[in-house]
Symmetry: C2
Subunit: 216 residues, 2 copies
DNA sequence: CGCGTGCCCTTAACGGTGTTAAGTCGTCAA
DNA sequence: TTGACGACTTAACACCGTTAAGGGCACGCG
């Protein structure tokens, strides 16, 4: 009979498929049964490769990190400021590339040590520029926290990435805030152009890091 | 018969109870049935007050925000730097006061406009100090994103707040990272004293904001 | 060649989850 | 007295993550 034997799964293929599916159905639609269906397999089969769903999510985050560092080490870097800006800007872009990307990524534990080498390289850029190892860690962590927090808020607020999808209810928000003009304008400032807002903040973080952590 | 009639629920009481329960069982244990049990009610009763679970979570986040701004406006403020540091430090402390606090708080929509007044006050501190309205919004958003991102990472990594709970596996981590000395030390630097790490980063953010957003 | 010992997956089922539909019961207005 | 309405219960649904048990194919060893 036509019993073509499938090549067996592995953690990587499962994570790849789950990441592709994530963009179609979002985090709350990403069920084990849906992932299994996509792989032409029944749900319990996934438990051969992962001890539970969280382990699968960890592998997804790890795969995101691998793709990201593969992309980022390919880009040319100038001085440490530009390198840091490039890293965090790239992190943001990658996270935006997956639906609920930041929520999946934030606070998950990587499943292997593939993060070590790119992290070491990033930190070395900073120490080469005069940061102590401790200050480099602080600088990296500060910019990282800012980026994660920004993208979580950015993704949580609307499905549409570019247009904002809510130009109309932004106006409604403005009207409700007639008594608080600064808060009203802050809404426009923060929600209109996410990219510009992110980079303005990132510039501030980078300059602050230079000021308070490098020269001491 | 002893049919003491309970006073009916309202959104606020449900959110209060849910917040108390959150600290006992965590976000993944926070089911509608458990909340209802605590209120001496069956689960579907909650649907009279909230259209779905997300609406309840939104109300919880709103209540967290209300408590926080009640606490923060009571504190004395000095110059804008100290005010911003106090605000974000207080935000962090409040989020740490709830199990999974940052995850519940981040990216939820407030259910009313009680955020408007404290937000306006915070922004006015900045504009009074010479920030344009747009720059004040950027400054506030930048510090806010940093704080949210930091606390999410902080809460995601371990149950223990003070001791770190993982002094032991931090050493294990260090051994695995023998080939990446900077990454190894970064682990110690970032995970040892969260409070110090947060404030070092916050100082950087504040100074960066001063440098790139105020004088322009 | 036969045969057991893995690996990789299926079938069946469990308890629990958010959510909906329909009904109940006390309270208050007319 | 009656009727409407507010606040809740009971029953049930579809689906979720997860576990237990077993099946079949491949391959090394006698």
């Amino acid at each position: 009979m036509s019993s073509e034997r499938r090549t067996p799964l592995d953690r990587r293929r499962v994570a790849d498929t789950a990441l592709r599916l994530l963009n179609e159905v979002g985090l709350e639609g990403l069920t084990l049964r849906a992932i299994a269906r996509e792989l032409d397999v029944k749900a319990p089969a996934l438990y051969w490769h992962f001890k539970d769903k969280q382990a699968l999510l960890d592998e997804m985050a790890t795969e995101m990190m691998r793709r990201m560092s593969a992309d980022l080490t390919a880009r040319p870097a100038g001085d440490w400021r530009e390198a840091l800006r490039l890293m965090m800007g790239g992190l943001r872009e990658h996270l935006l590339g997956y639906r609920d990307g930041a929520k999946v990524y934030a606070g998950t534990r990587f499943t292997d040590m593939s993060y070590a080498e790119p992290m070491e390289a990033s930190l070395r850029v900073l120490t080469d520029a005069g940061f102590t190892p401790a200050a480099a860690a602080r600088a990296w962590s500060t910019a990282y926290s800012y980026t994660i927090g920004y993208v979580i808020e950015e993704q949580a607020m609307g499905p549409d990435p570019a247009t904002g999808a809510g130009g109309h209810d932004l106006d409604a928000r403005g009207e409700r805030l007639a008594a608080q003009p600064l808060a009203a304008q802050a809404g426009y400032e923060m929600f209109r152009d996410h990219r510009a807002g992110f980079e303005a903040g990132l510039d501030a973080v980078v300059e602050g890091v230079a000021l308070t952590l490098r020269d001491r």
